[in-house]
Amino acid sequence: MSANSTLAAYATRLGDNALILGQRMIELVAASPELEEELANANFSLDYIGQARMFYTYAGEREGAGRDEDDLAFLRPEHEYCNLLLVEQPNGHFGDSTVRQVLFESWYVLLLDALTRCSDEGISDIAARAIKEVRYHLRHSSQWLVRLGDGTEESHARTQASLDDLWRFTGEMFTPDDLDDEMRAAFNGPHLEVIETRWRENVAAIIAEAMLEMPGDQLMASGGKQGRHSEHMGFLLAEMQHLQRSYPGATW
């Protein structure tokens, strides 16, 4: 792979995680338990979509084929999205959403931290901007995990069930594929095994504070990074892409 195509593919993947999670979270607008929580969540969603825009714009520049952020966000088929399976999982109940955010954000914050030290300035600049937002998101989501886990008997049981259910999507965050290896070799990219060790420590601490149990080792789902998605992805894309597909180039 040429340097430009590695960077374009890697930035696209980062953009995909941010965009798909942002789209998931925006579905919570008008469905949050409290007005203040809703406003917070909408802010976070827009943070993620803002990150996606930066990553896609950069990917388009590196690719050099004239594609812009909208082309990458809205005009690709499902198998070209390389986001993690975790971020496309449905919102479910509030405990499900909270667990998804904690598991992803505790990984993402470590990944961005490593990316601020990568040798490609385009990606490290975006990572440095994004990490400030994500540190706050993680603070918010992990506090909620503690409230739910250490809350009532029902909230505890339901949150534990969410944790056990979503745990199987965490494996692929730490399994490097060719692109991860290439990024690491050529641009001092993240070392996923190191991130895994730190992630487990950090997540174990939050889970302990929330009076929840760490899920045991289990069979991990994977495929997101290679474009093989769960059954939820098609519905998400259909809704997200509808306007751009029906009215190409539509503007306000």
Binding site: E36, L39, A40, N43, Y136, R139, H140, Q143, R147
Partner: protein
Amino acid sequence: MTKQEWPLYEVFIRSRSGLSHRHAGSVHAADDEMALNNARDTYTRRSEGVSIWVVRSDRIVASDPAETSAFFDPAEDKIYRHPTFYEIPDEVENL
């Protein structure tokens, strides 16, 4: 189950260093940490602040509107308590 309202918190924001905190509004929250988060997300989204205070509204001791005259009127005719007899240099800001 009847829905229980979360307590109300008053939010004070300092817009930049050197200024004092000003009342910005209020938020509902289940605990102090959440109140701080909610205040941040509700009132500082457009870079309005560098510091936030939150305090539960029911912990604020307020003067009684019925006693306004006893509280505040006696100060009105005592102009010698106002520092209006000094020249303030132009360089002094935020006084």
